[in-house]
Protein backbone atom coordinates (compact mmCIF):
# COMPACT_ATOMS: atom_id res chain seq x y z
CA UNK A 1 0.00 0.00 0.00
CA UNK A 2 2.62 2.46 1.16
CA UNK A 3 4.84 1.25 -1.63
CA UNK A 4 2.19 1.80 -4.27
CA UNK A 5 1.63 5.29 -3.00
CA UNK A 6 5.26 6.14 -3.09
CA UNK A 7 5.45 4.91 -6.65
CA UNK A 8 2.58 7.16 -7.56
CA UNK A 9 4.14 10.18 -5.94
CA UNK A 10 7.44 9.48 -7.58
CA UNK A 11 5.80 9.18 -10.95
CA UNK A 12 4.23 12.53 -10.36
CA UNK A 13 7.50 14.14 -9.50
CA UNK A 14 9.01 12.67 -12.62
CA UNK A 15 6.20 13.63 -14.94
CA UNK A 16 5.43 17.08 -13.70
CA UNK A 17 8.72 18.76 -14.52
CA UNK A 18 8.48 17.44 -18.07
CA UNK A 19 5.09 18.96 -18.65
CA UNK A 20 6.17 22.11 -16.87
CA UNK A 21 9.14 22.38 -19.16
CA UNK A 22 6.96 21.94 -22.19
CA UNK A 23 4.59 24.58 -20.92
CA UNK A 24 7.42 26.93 -20.23
CA UNK A 25 8.83 26.39 -23.68
CA UNK A 26 5.49 27.17 -25.26
CA UNK A 27 5.20 30.35 -23.26
CA UNK A 28 8.68 31.45 -24.23
CA UNK A 29 7.76 30.97 -27.89
CA UNK A 30 4.65 33.03 -27.34
CA UNK A 31 6.59 35.85 -25.76
CA UNK A 32 9.07 35.73 -28.63
CA UNK A 33 6.26 36.05 -31.13
CA UNK A 34 4.73 38.90 -29.20
CA UNK A 35 7.98 40.84 -28.94
CA UNK A 36 8.21 40.81 -32.72
CA UNK A 37 5.06 42.89 -32.89
CA UNK A 38 4.89 44.77 -29.67
CA UNK A 39 7.08 46.50 -27.22
CA UNK A 40 6.69 44.50 -24.04
CA UNK A 41 8.23 45.95 -20.94
CA UNK A 42 8.62 44.10 -17.69
CA UNK A 43 8.07 40.53 -18.80
CA UNK A 44 7.88 38.19 -15.84
CA UNK A 45 7.40 34.45 -15.99
CA UNK A 46 5.62 33.84 -12.72
CA UNK A 47 5.02 30.14 -13.19
CA UNK A 48 5.41 27.61 -15.96
CA UNK A 49 1.91 28.49 -17.10
CA UNK A 50 1.57 32.11 -16.09
CA UNK A 51 3.37 35.19 -17.33
CA UNK A 52 2.89 38.89 -16.82
CA UNK A 53 3.82 41.56 -19.34
CA UNK A 54 3.46 45.31 -19.16
CA UNK A 55 2.40 47.19 -22.27
CA UNK A 56 1.70 50.71 -23.21
CA UNK A 57 -1.78 52.03 -22.54
CA UNK A 58 -2.32 52.87 -26.23
CA UNK A 59 -1.15 49.46 -27.36
CA UNK A 60 -3.10 47.37 -24.94
CA UNK A 61 -6.41 46.98 -26.85
CA UNK A 62 -4.37 45.99 -29.83
CA UNK A 63 -2.33 43.38 -28.07
CA UNK A 64 -5.34 41.94 -26.30
CA UNK A 65 -7.17 41.62 -29.60
CA UNK A 66 -4.09 40.04 -31.08
CA UNK A 67 -3.87 37.56 -28.25
CA UNK A 68 -7.49 36.63 -28.62
CA UNK A 69 -7.63 36.39 -32.39
CA UNK A 70 -4.20 35.05 -33.30
CA UNK A 71 -2.87 33.37 -30.20
CA UNK A 72 -6.02 31.61 -29.09
CA UNK A 73 -6.48 33.40 -25.77
CA UNK A 74 -10.21 32.99 -26.03
CA UNK A 75 -11.04 32.81 -22.33
CA UNK A 76 -11.10 36.11 -20.54
CA UNK A 77 -10.33 35.40 -16.91
CA UNK A 78 -10.46 38.69 -15.13
CA UNK A 79 -9.85 42.37 -15.19
CA UNK A 80 -8.39 43.77 -12.04
CA UNK A 81 -6.82 46.93 -10.78
CA UNK A 82 -3.98 47.56 -8.35
CA UNK A 83 -3.41 50.93 -6.79
CA UNK A 84 0.27 51.91 -6.74
CA UNK A 85 -0.37 55.08 -4.87
CA UNK A 86 3.33 55.77 -4.30
CA UNK A 87 3.97 55.95 -8.04
CA UNK A 88 0.69 57.71 -8.72
CA UNK A 89 -0.37 54.91 -11.02
CA UNK A 90 -3.22 52.47 -11.30
CA UNK A 91 -2.33 49.10 -12.73
CA UNK A 92 -4.97 47.36 -14.81
CA UNK A 93 -4.41 43.66 -15.24
CA UNK A 94 -6.16 41.83 -18.06
CA UNK A 95 -5.79 38.14 -17.42
CA UNK A 96 -6.31 35.92 -20.46
CA UNK A 97 -6.31 32.17 -20.74
CA UNK A 98 -5.31 30.00 -23.69
CA UNK A 99 -7.48 26.88 -23.34
CA UNK A 100 -5.52 24.73 -25.78
CA UNK A 101 -2.05 25.32 -24.42
CA UNK A 102 -3.51 25.83 -20.96
CA UNK A 103 -1.47 28.83 -20.06
CA UNK A 104 -2.30 32.31 -18.95
CA UNK A 105 -0.96 35.75 -19.59
CA UNK A 106 -1.55 38.84 -17.55
CA UNK A 107 -1.41 42.05 -19.53
CA UNK A 108 -0.58 44.93 -17.25
CA UNK A 109 -1.36 48.49 -18.21
CA UNK A 110 -0.33 51.42 -16.06
CA UNK A 111 -2.64 54.39 -16.17
CA UNK A 112 -2.52 57.77 -14.54
CA UNK A 113 -4.04 57.73 -11.09
CA UNK A 114 -5.15 61.35 -11.18
CA UNK A 115 -6.99 61.00 -14.43
CA UNK A 116 -7.86 57.34 -14.69
CA UNK A 117 -9.27 56.51 -18.05
CA UNK A 118 -9.04 53.43 -20.20
CA UNK A 119 -10.45 52.20 -23.47
CA UNK A 120 -13.50 50.04 -22.97
CA UNK A 121 -13.19 46.50 -24.25
CA UNK A 122 -16.86 45.60 -23.77
CA UNK A 123 -17.23 44.58 -27.39
CA UNK A 124 -14.59 41.89 -27.08
CA UNK A 125 -16.09 39.72 -24.38
CA UNK A 126 -19.59 39.96 -23.07
CA UNK A 127 -18.70 39.99 -19.41
CA UNK A 128 -16.15 42.78 -19.56
CA UNK A 129 -18.63 45.56 -18.99
CA UNK A 130 -19.30 44.10 -15.54
CA UNK A 131 -15.64 44.37 -14.61
CA UNK A 132 -15.47 47.88 -15.98
CA UNK A 133 -18.56 48.88 -14.06
CA UNK A 134 -17.05 47.48 -10.89
CA UNK A 135 -13.72 49.22 -11.45
CA UNK A 136 -15.52 52.45 -12.08
CA UNK A 137 -17.17 52.17 -8.71
CA UNK A 138 -14.22 50.76 -6.81
CA UNK A 139 -11.35 52.79 -8.32
CA UNK A 140 -13.09 55.58 -10.16
CA UNK A 141 -11.75 54.54 -13.56
CA UNK A 142 -13.65 55.81 -16.58
CA UNK A 143 -14.19 53.48 -19.52
CA UNK A 144 -15.91 55.66 -22.14
CA UNK A 145 -18.74 53.86 -23.88
CA UNK A 146 -18.94 50.97 -21.49
CA UNK A 147 -22.61 50.07 -20.84
CA UNK A 148 -24.17 50.87 -17.48
CA UNK A 149 -20.86 52.26 -16.26
CA UNK A 150 -22.45 54.75 -13.92
CA UNK A 151 -24.78 52.27 -12.26
CA UNK A 152 -24.03 51.23 -8.72
CA UNK A 153 -22.38 47.89 -8.48
CA UNK A 154 -22.34 46.80 -4.85
CA UNK A 155 -22.55 50.11 -3.06
CA UNK A 156 -25.92 51.76 -3.23
CA UNK A 157 -25.86 55.45 -2.48
CA UNK A 158 -22.08 55.65 -1.93
CA UNK A 159 -20.86 59.19 -1.53
CA UNK A 160 -17.29 58.66 -0.38
CA UNK A 161 -14.28 58.31 -2.61
CA UNK A 162 -13.93 55.00 -4.48
CA UNK A 163 -13.51 52.46 -1.75
CA UNK A 164 -10.78 50.27 -3.15
CA UNK A 165 -8.27 53.09 -3.51
CA UNK A 166 -5.43 52.76 -1.05
CA UNK A 167 -6.13 56.12 0.50
CA UNK A 168 -9.67 55.20 1.43
CA UNK A 169 -9.30 54.17 5.04
CA UNK A 170 -11.83 51.48 5.86
CA UNK A 171 -11.21 51.62 9.56
CA UNK A 172 -11.58 55.33 9.77
CA UNK A 173 -14.77 55.11 7.74
CA UNK A 174 -16.19 52.39 9.97
CA UNK A 175 -15.39 54.34 13.10
CA UNK A 176 -16.99 57.44 11.67
CA UNK A 177 -20.09 55.69 10.38
CA UNK A 178 -20.83 53.07 12.99
CA UNK A 179 -20.67 53.05 16.75
CA UNK A 180 -17.72 51.31 18.29
CA UNK A 181 -18.67 49.29 21.30
CA UNK A 182 -18.31 51.50 24.36
CA UNK A 183 -15.98 50.60 27.17
CA UNK A 184 -13.36 48.67 25.27
CA UNK A 185 -9.79 49.45 26.22
CA UNK A 186 -6.67 47.40 25.94
CA UNK A 187 -3.20 47.57 27.41
CA UNK A 188 0.17 47.02 25.87
CA UNK A 189 2.00 44.54 28.13
CA UNK A 190 5.37 46.32 28.05
CA UNK A 191 3.89 49.74 28.76
CA UNK A 192 1.63 48.38 31.45
CA UNK A 193 4.50 46.59 33.16
CA UNK A 194 6.56 49.74 33.08
CA UNK A 195 3.82 51.73 34.73
CA UNK A 196 3.40 49.08 37.37
CA UNK A 197 6.98 48.08 38.04
CA UNK A 198 9.37 50.85 37.11
CA UNK A 199 7.47 54.02 36.32
CA UNK A 200 10.35 56.48 36.57
CA UNK A 201 13.24 54.73 34.96
CA UNK A 202 14.89 55.57 31.66
CA UNK A 203 13.52 53.42 28.82
CA UNK A 204 13.59 53.19 25.10
CA UNK A 205 11.47 55.94 23.72
CA UNK A 206 9.56 53.97 21.10
CA UNK A 207 6.44 51.98 21.66
CA UNK A 208 6.61 48.31 21.18
CA UNK A 209 3.80 47.29 18.86
CA UNK A 210 4.35 45.91 15.40
CA UNK A 211 2.95 48.90 13.48
Amino acid sequence: MEHARLQLVNKLFNDRPKSYKYNLFQMKLLIDRLTQHYNLTDYKQQRHNLAFVTVDKQLSPDIITHLRDYEGFSHFVLLSCVDWIEDDKLQLTYLLNQPNHKYEIGVRVLIDRKNPEMVSLHKMWKQIWTYQRELHEAFGIIFPGSPRLEENFVLEGWTEKPHMLRDFDTKEYAERTYFPRPGRTSNDPATYMREKLYPNQPVTAKTNKND
Partner: protein, 398 residues
Protein backbone atom coordinates in the same frame (compact mmCIF):
# COMPACT_ATOMS: atom_id res chain seq x y z
CA UNK B 1 -39.88 23.78 -24.16
CA UNK B 2 -42.64 24.34 -21.69
CA UNK B 3 -44.20 26.95 -23.92
CA UNK B 4 -44.27 24.72 -26.91
CA UNK B 5 -45.51 21.85 -24.77
CA UNK B 6 -48.52 23.84 -23.68
CA UNK B 7 -49.02 25.22 -27.13
CA UNK B 8 -48.47 28.79 -25.97
CA UNK B 9 -47.00 31.41 -28.30
CA UNK B 10 -46.12 34.85 -26.90
CA UNK B 11 -47.11 37.87 -28.91
CA UNK B 12 -43.73 39.43 -29.63
CA UNK B 13 -45.31 42.50 -31.20
CA UNK B 14 -46.06 43.76 -27.72
CA UNK B 15 -42.42 43.68 -26.75
CA UNK B 16 -40.45 46.87 -26.25
CA UNK B 17 -38.45 48.15 -29.19
CA UNK B 18 -34.75 48.72 -29.17
CA UNK B 19 -33.78 52.33 -29.70
CA UNK B 20 -30.85 53.70 -31.63
CA UNK B 21 -28.46 53.36 -28.65
CA UNK B 22 -29.33 49.70 -28.33
CA UNK B 23 -31.40 50.20 -25.19
CA UNK B 24 -34.87 48.87 -24.74
CA UNK B 25 -37.62 51.47 -24.74
CA UNK B 26 -39.66 50.55 -21.77
CA UNK B 27 -42.39 52.95 -20.88
CA UNK B 28 -43.64 51.86 -17.49
CA UNK B 29 -46.49 54.36 -17.57
CA UNK B 30 -47.98 52.50 -20.49
CA UNK B 31 -49.07 49.82 -17.99
CA UNK B 32 -47.90 47.27 -20.43
CA UNK B 33 -44.91 46.29 -18.25
CA UNK B 34 -44.40 45.41 -14.63
CA UNK B 35 -41.27 45.97 -12.61
CA UNK B 36 -40.68 43.15 -10.18
CA UNK B 37 -37.96 42.85 -7.58
CA UNK B 38 -37.13 39.27 -6.96
CA UNK B 39 -35.04 39.17 -3.83
CA UNK B 40 -32.82 39.98 -2.05
CA UNK B 41 -34.89 38.13 0.55
CA UNK B 42 -36.63 35.45 -1.40
CA UNK B 43 -36.43 31.75 -0.63
CA UNK B 44 -35.96 30.85 -4.27
CA UNK B 45 -33.01 33.16 -4.84
CA UNK B 46 -29.54 31.75 -4.29
CA UNK B 47 -28.14 33.82 -1.50
CA UNK B 48 -28.98 37.45 -0.97
CA UNK B 49 -29.25 38.69 -4.49
CA UNK B 50 -31.92 40.72 -6.18
CA UNK B 51 -33.21 40.46 -9.73
CA UNK B 52 -34.81 43.57 -11.08
CA UNK B 53 -37.19 42.18 -13.66
CA UNK B 54 -39.28 43.95 -16.25
CA UNK B 55 -42.20 41.79 -17.19
CA UNK B 56 -44.57 41.70 -20.01
CA UNK B 57 -47.31 39.51 -18.68
CA UNK B 58 -45.34 36.68 -17.12
CA UNK B 59 -42.52 36.94 -19.62
CA UNK B 60 -39.30 38.69 -18.86
CA UNK B 61 -38.19 41.39 -21.22
CA UNK B 62 -35.27 42.63 -19.17
CA UNK B 63 -33.47 41.45 -16.06
CA UNK B 64 -30.82 43.13 -14.00
CA UNK B 65 -28.77 41.58 -11.26
CA UNK B 66 -28.22 43.53 -8.07
CA UNK B 67 -25.74 42.39 -5.48
CA UNK B 68 -24.23 43.84 -2.33
CA UNK B 69 -26.88 42.86 0.17
CA UNK B 70 -24.87 40.32 2.11
CA UNK B 71 -21.17 41.11 2.24
CA UNK B 72 -19.12 43.92 0.94
CA UNK B 73 -15.47 44.78 0.89
CA UNK B 74 -13.80 41.55 1.97
CA UNK B 75 -10.97 42.07 -0.48
CA UNK B 76 -10.31 45.41 1.12
CA UNK B 77 -10.39 43.89 4.58
CA UNK B 78 -7.85 41.24 3.59
CA UNK B 79 -5.60 43.93 2.16
CA UNK B 80 -5.49 45.47 5.62
CA UNK B 81 -4.51 42.28 7.42
CA UNK B 82 -1.41 40.17 7.86
CA UNK B 83 -0.97 37.31 5.44
CA UNK B 84 -2.01 34.72 7.94
CA UNK B 85 -5.05 36.70 8.98
CA UNK B 86 -6.50 36.60 5.50
CA UNK B 87 -8.00 33.16 5.44
CA UNK B 88 -10.62 33.50 8.18
CA UNK B 89 -12.02 36.48 6.30
CA UNK B 90 -11.65 35.01 2.84
CA UNK B 91 -13.87 32.03 3.49
CA UNK B 92 -16.86 34.31 3.57
CA UNK B 93 -16.38 35.13 -0.08
CA UNK B 94 -17.99 31.82 -0.90
CA UNK B 95 -20.29 30.32 1.66
CA UNK B 96 -21.03 27.23 -0.38
CA UNK B 97 -17.45 26.01 -0.58
CA UNK B 98 -15.40 28.07 1.85
CA UNK B 99 -12.39 25.79 1.63
CA UNK B 100 -11.62 26.98 -1.87
CA UNK B 101 -10.85 30.45 -0.55
CA UNK B 102 -8.59 29.11 2.17
CA UNK B 103 -6.67 27.10 -0.35
CA UNK B 104 -6.24 30.03 -2.72
CA UNK B 105 -4.97 32.39 -0.05
CA UNK B 106 -2.55 29.73 1.13
CA UNK B 107 -1.38 28.83 -2.37
CA UNK B 108 -0.87 32.46 -3.42
CA UNK B 109 1.08 33.41 -0.32
CA UNK B 110 3.18 30.27 -0.53
CA UNK B 111 3.96 30.81 -4.17
CA UNK B 112 4.92 34.43 -3.76
CA UNK B 113 7.05 33.82 -0.69
CA UNK B 114 8.73 30.78 -2.22
CA UNK B 115 7.43 28.32 0.33
CA UNK B 116 5.29 26.33 -2.10
CA UNK B 117 7.89 23.59 -2.36
CA UNK B 118 8.02 23.15 1.39
CA UNK B 119 4.36 22.33 1.95
CA UNK B 120 4.43 18.77 3.31
CA UNK B 121 2.92 15.99 1.26
CA UNK B 122 0.45 15.03 3.95
CA UNK B 123 -0.86 18.58 4.04
CA UNK B 124 -1.46 18.50 0.30
CA UNK B 125 -3.50 15.33 0.52
CA UNK B 126 -5.52 16.77 3.35
CA UNK B 127 -6.08 19.93 1.39
CA UNK B 128 -7.34 17.88 -1.50
CA UNK B 129 -9.58 15.89 0.80
CA UNK B 130 -11.16 18.96 2.27
CA UNK B 131 -11.62 20.53 -1.17
CA UNK B 132 -13.37 17.41 -2.47
CA UNK B 133 -15.49 17.16 0.66
CA UNK B 134 -16.49 20.75 0.06
CA UNK B 135 -17.43 19.95 -3.51
CA UNK B 136 -19.43 16.96 -2.30
CA UNK B 137 -21.44 18.89 0.23
CA UNK B 138 -22.08 21.60 -2.36
CA UNK B 139 -23.35 19.08 -4.86
CA UNK B 140 -25.49 17.35 -2.27
CA UNK B 141 -27.33 20.59 -1.95
CA UNK B 142 -27.06 21.70 -5.57
CA UNK B 143 -28.32 18.66 -7.47
CA UNK B 144 -31.58 18.14 -5.61
CA UNK B 145 -31.80 21.92 -5.26
CA UNK B 146 -32.33 22.16 -8.97
CA UNK B 147 -35.46 20.06 -8.63
CA UNK B 148 -36.33 22.17 -5.62
CA UNK B 149 -36.68 25.21 -7.85
CA UNK B 150 -39.46 23.32 -9.57
CA UNK B 151 -41.03 22.71 -6.17
CA UNK B 152 -39.79 19.16 -5.75
CA UNK B 153 -38.62 19.51 -2.18
CA UNK B 154 -38.06 15.95 -1.04
CA UNK B 155 -34.68 15.60 -2.72
CA UNK B 156 -33.50 18.75 -1.03
CA UNK B 157 -34.39 17.26 2.32
CA UNK B 158 -32.46 14.10 1.64
CA UNK B 159 -29.55 16.10 0.35
CA UNK B 160 -29.54 18.37 3.37
CA UNK B 161 -29.37 15.37 5.68
CA UNK B 162 -26.46 13.87 3.81
CA UNK B 163 -24.74 17.21 3.60
CA UNK B 164 -25.06 17.36 7.35
CA UNK B 165 -23.20 14.09 7.62
CA UNK B 166 -20.36 15.52 5.57
CA UNK B 167 -20.43 18.58 7.80
CA UNK B 168 -20.05 16.21 10.74
CA UNK B 169 -16.90 14.90 9.12
CA UNK B 170 -15.75 18.44 8.52
CA UNK B 171 -16.39 19.20 12.16
CA UNK B 172 -14.22 16.29 13.19
CA UNK B 173 -11.43 17.18 10.84
CA UNK B 174 -11.38 20.94 11.01
CA UNK B 175 -13.20 21.93 14.18
CA UNK B 176 -16.08 23.68 12.45
CA UNK B 177 -19.04 22.78 10.30
CA UNK B 178 -19.32 25.50 7.71
CA UNK B 179 -16.39 27.89 8.06
CA UNK B 180 -13.65 25.36 8.43
CA UNK B 181 -10.56 27.59 8.54
CA UNK B 182 -8.49 24.51 7.98
CA UNK B 183 -6.09 25.26 5.16
CA UNK B 184 -3.50 27.69 6.44
CA UNK B 185 -0.48 29.14 4.64
CA UNK B 186 2.13 26.44 4.94
CA UNK B 187 -0.15 23.47 5.36
CA UNK B 188 -3.26 22.47 7.23
CA UNK B 189 -4.28 22.68 10.86
CA UNK B 190 -4.79 19.06 11.81
CA UNK B 191 -4.39 15.42 10.91
CA UNK B 192 -7.27 13.04 10.29
CA UNK B 193 -8.84 12.02 13.61
CA UNK B 194 -8.84 8.31 14.50
CA UNK B 195 -11.52 6.36 12.70
CA UNK B 196 -12.27 9.20 10.33
CA UNK B 197 -11.95 7.08 7.21
CA UNK B 198 -14.43 4.49 8.47
CA UNK B 199 -17.01 7.04 9.38
CA UNK B 200 -16.50 8.75 6.06
CA UNK B 201 -16.95 5.47 4.26
CA UNK B 202 -20.25 4.91 6.09
CA UNK B 203 -21.43 8.30 4.92
CA UNK B 204 -20.30 7.68 1.37
CA UNK B 205 -22.31 4.44 1.33
CA UNK B 206 -25.42 6.38 2.26
CA UNK B 207 -24.62 8.87 -0.45
CA UNK B 208 -24.27 6.06 -2.96
CA UNK B 209 -27.85 5.07 -2.27
CA UNK B 210 -28.97 8.65 -2.43
CA UNK B 211 -27.39 8.97 -5.86
CA UNK B 212 -29.56 6.16 -7.18
CA UNK B 213 -32.66 7.47 -5.51
CA UNK B 214 -32.12 10.95 -6.82
CA UNK B 215 -31.76 9.66 -10.34
CA UNK B 216 -35.17 8.08 -10.15
CA UNK B 217 -36.59 11.13 -8.48
CA UNK B 218 -35.22 13.81 -10.77
CA UNK B 219 -33.93 12.54 -14.02
CA UNK B 220 -36.74 10.10 -14.68
CA UNK B 221 -39.32 12.66 -13.77
CA UNK B 222 -41.81 13.96 -16.28
CA UNK B 223 -42.25 17.32 -14.61
CA UNK B 224 -38.55 17.94 -14.27
CA UNK B 225 -37.92 16.98 -17.86
CA UNK B 226 -40.70 19.20 -19.11
CA UNK B 227 -39.42 22.18 -17.23
CA UNK B 228 -35.67 21.69 -17.55
CA UNK B 229 -35.09 20.40 -21.02
CA UNK B 230 -34.42 23.22 -23.44
CA UNK B 231 -34.32 25.88 -20.72
CA UNK B 232 -31.38 28.25 -20.55
CA UNK B 233 -29.29 26.79 -23.33
CA UNK B 234 -25.57 27.57 -23.36
CA UNK B 235 -23.97 26.95 -26.72
CA UNK B 236 -20.27 26.11 -27.02
CA UNK B 237 -19.75 29.43 -28.73
CA UNK B 238 -21.12 31.28 -25.73
CA UNK B 239 -18.59 29.66 -23.45
CA UNK B 240 -15.74 31.88 -24.53
CA UNK B 241 -17.93 34.86 -25.29
CA UNK B 242 -19.11 35.01 -21.71
CA UNK B 243 -16.21 33.37 -19.93
CA UNK B 244 -18.31 30.41 -18.84
CA UNK B 245 -16.50 27.80 -16.76
CA UNK B 246 -17.00 24.61 -14.82
CA UNK B 247 -20.04 22.40 -15.07
CA UNK B 248 -21.86 25.09 -17.02
CA UNK B 249 -19.25 24.86 -19.76
CA UNK B 250 -18.94 21.09 -19.54
CA UNK B 251 -22.71 20.65 -19.93
CA UNK B 252 -22.35 22.57 -23.18
CA UNK B 253 -19.72 20.18 -24.41
CA UNK B 254 -16.67 22.31 -23.64
CA UNK B 255 -14.50 20.13 -21.49
CA UNK B 256 -12.60 22.43 -19.21
CA UNK B 257 -11.57 21.48 -15.73
CA UNK B 258 -8.71 23.11 -13.89
CA UNK B 259 -7.99 19.86 -12.08
CA UNK B 260 -7.16 18.33 -15.43
CA UNK B 261 -5.87 21.30 -17.37
CA UNK B 262 -3.54 22.78 -14.77
CA UNK B 263 -3.29 20.12 -12.10
CA UNK B 264 -2.70 21.45 -8.62
CA UNK B 265 -2.06 19.54 -5.39
CA UNK B 266 -2.08 15.84 -6.36
CA UNK B 267 -4.98 15.82 -8.77
CA UNK B 268 -2.81 14.25 -11.43
CA UNK B 269 -2.50 11.22 -9.18
CA UNK B 270 -6.24 10.64 -9.15
CA UNK B 271 -8.04 8.71 -11.77
CA UNK B 272 -11.01 10.63 -13.10
CA UNK B 273 -12.53 12.12 -16.17
CA UNK B 274 -14.80 15.14 -15.85
CA UNK B 275 -18.29 14.32 -17.11
CA UNK B 276 -19.71 16.31 -20.00
CA UNK B 277 -22.93 16.71 -21.93
CA UNK B 278 -23.76 18.47 -25.16
CA UNK B 279 -27.21 19.99 -24.79
CA UNK B 280 -26.17 22.86 -22.52
CA UNK B 281 -29.62 23.30 -20.98
CA UNK B 282 -30.73 23.14 -17.36
CA UNK B 283 -31.34 19.42 -17.63
CA UNK B 284 -27.87 18.77 -19.01
CA UNK B 285 -26.24 20.87 -16.33
CA UNK B 286 -28.06 19.02 -13.59
CA UNK B 287 -27.17 15.71 -15.20
CA UNK B 288 -23.49 16.64 -15.38
CA UNK B 289 -23.57 17.65 -11.76
CA UNK B 290 -25.22 14.43 -10.78
CA UNK B 291 -22.43 12.55 -12.52
CA UNK B 292 -19.94 14.73 -10.79
CA UNK B 293 -21.52 13.73 -7.52
CA UNK B 294 -20.71 10.11 -8.34
CA UNK B 295 -17.23 11.12 -9.33
CA UNK B 296 -16.61 13.16 -6.21
CA UNK B 297 -17.59 10.26 -4.00
CA UNK B 298 -15.12 8.17 -5.95
CA UNK B 299 -12.42 10.83 -5.67
CA UNK B 300 -12.82 10.99 -1.89
CA UNK B 301 -12.41 7.23 -1.76
CA UNK B 302 -9.34 7.44 -3.94
CA UNK B 303 -7.83 10.18 -1.81
CA UNK B 304 -8.44 8.30 1.40
CA UNK B 305 -6.88 5.18 -0.09
CA UNK B 306 -3.87 6.91 -1.57
CA UNK B 307 -2.97 9.36 1.16
CA UNK B 308 -0.21 8.51 3.62
CA UNK B 309 -1.06 7.44 7.12
CA UNK B 310 0.89 10.11 8.87
CA UNK B 311 3.13 13.01 8.13
CA UNK B 312 3.85 16.61 8.85
CA UNK B 313 1.00 19.03 8.48
CA UNK B 314 2.68 22.36 8.13
CA UNK B 315 5.96 23.66 6.80
CA UNK B 316 8.05 25.75 9.11
CA UNK B 317 7.19 29.23 7.96
CA UNK B 318 8.42 32.59 9.19
CA UNK B 319 6.80 33.95 12.31
CA UNK B 320 3.30 34.84 11.18
CA UNK B 321 3.45 38.21 12.91
CA UNK B 322 6.63 39.22 11.08
CA UNK B 323 6.02 37.55 7.75
CA UNK B 324 6.83 39.76 4.78
CA UNK B 325 6.48 38.70 1.17
CA UNK B 326 8.59 40.32 -1.56
CA UNK B 327 6.90 42.29 -4.30
CA UNK B 328 5.14 40.10 -6.82
CA UNK B 329 1.84 39.06 -8.27
CA UNK B 330 0.24 35.80 -9.18
CA UNK B 331 -3.01 34.20 -10.17
CA UNK B 332 -3.84 30.82 -8.68
CA UNK B 333 -6.96 28.94 -9.63
CA UNK B 334 -8.75 25.77 -8.76
CA UNK B 335 -11.83 23.93 -9.89
CA UNK B 336 -14.62 24.59 -7.46
CA UNK B 337 -18.03 23.01 -7.74
CA UNK B 338 -19.01 25.99 -9.84
CA UNK B 339 -15.96 26.11 -12.05
CA UNK B 340 -12.72 27.97 -12.29
CA UNK B 341 -12.23 29.86 -9.07
CA UNK B 342 -9.14 31.98 -8.89
CA UNK B 343 -7.34 34.53 -6.85
CA UNK B 344 -5.24 37.35 -8.17
CA UNK B 345 -2.81 38.25 -5.41
CA UNK B 346 -0.40 41.16 -5.43
CA UNK B 347 2.23 41.77 -2.78
CA UNK B 348 4.46 44.79 -2.32
CA UNK B 349 7.14 43.66 0.10
CA UNK B 350 5.22 44.63 3.22
CA UNK B 351 3.55 42.34 5.71
CA UNK B 352 0.15 42.74 4.08
CA UNK B 353 -1.06 42.05 0.56
CA UNK B 354 -1.37 44.98 -1.82
CA UNK B 355 -4.34 43.60 -3.70
CA UNK B 356 -6.50 40.54 -3.38
CA UNK B 357 -8.96 39.96 -6.17
CA UNK B 358 -11.17 36.94 -6.31
CA UNK B 359 -12.44 35.66 -9.61
CA UNK B 360 -15.57 33.71 -8.83
CA UNK B 361 -17.47 31.95 -11.60
CA UNK B 362 -20.66 33.67 -10.53
CA UNK B 363 -19.18 36.99 -11.50
CA UNK B 364 -19.81 36.17 -15.14
CA UNK B 365 -22.52 33.55 -14.71
CA UNK B 366 -24.60 35.68 -12.42
CA UNK B 367 -24.50 38.99 -14.22
CA UNK B 368 -23.67 39.06 -17.92
CA UNK B 369 -24.86 35.55 -18.69
CA UNK B 370 -27.89 35.39 -16.42
CA UNK B 371 -29.17 38.78 -17.51
CA UNK B 372 -29.02 37.78 -21.16
CA UNK B 373 -30.45 34.38 -20.49
CA UNK B 374 -33.46 35.70 -18.63
CA UNK B 375 -34.86 37.58 -21.59
CA UNK B 376 -37.83 35.83 -23.12
CA UNK B 377 -38.17 33.30 -20.35
CA UNK B 378 -41.07 32.83 -18.01
CA UNK B 379 -40.97 34.32 -14.57
CA UNK B 380 -41.40 30.86 -13.06
CA UNK B 381 -38.08 29.82 -14.53
CA UNK B 382 -35.93 32.55 -13.01
CA UNK B 383 -34.97 30.51 -9.97
CA UNK B 384 -34.31 27.44 -12.05
CA UNK B 385 -31.91 29.41 -14.23
CA UNK B 386 -30.19 31.00 -11.30
CA UNK B 387 -29.69 27.71 -9.53
CA UNK B 388 -28.65 25.94 -12.69
CA UNK B 389 -25.88 28.50 -13.20
CA UNK B 390 -24.99 28.09 -9.52
CA UNK B 391 -24.96 31.79 -8.91
CA UNK B 392 -23.46 32.63 -5.54
CA UNK B 393 -23.63 36.36 -4.81
CA UNK B 394 -20.91 36.55 -2.12
CA UNK B 395 -18.26 35.90 -4.72
CA UNK B 396 -19.61 38.76 -6.83
CA UNK B 397 -19.76 41.28 -3.99
CA UNK B 398 -16.58 40.23 -2.23
Amino acid sequence: MINSFLGFKPDRSLYPKTNAEGKLEIDLSSHQYTKLWLGPNHPGVTGNMAMELTLNGDEIVEGKTHVGYLHRGFEKLIERRLFVQGFPTSIRMCVAEPDTNEYLIAACTEELSGYDKQVPEMAKWLRMLSLEMARLQGLLRGVPGQAGTFSLGIGVQWGTYLRDLILDRFEELTGARVYHMYIIPGGVRGLLPDGFKDRMEDNLKEIDQFIIKIRKLIFNNAVFKTRAVGLGVITPKMVDQYGIVGTNARAAGVKRDVRKDNPYLFYDLLDFDPPTATEGDVYARTWVRWQELIQTVDLIRQIMAKMPEKGEIRAQMPNVLNWRIPQGETYVKLESGRGEYGLYYVTDGSDKPRRVNLRGPSYTHGIALLEDMLVNTNIADVHALMVSLQVCPPEIER
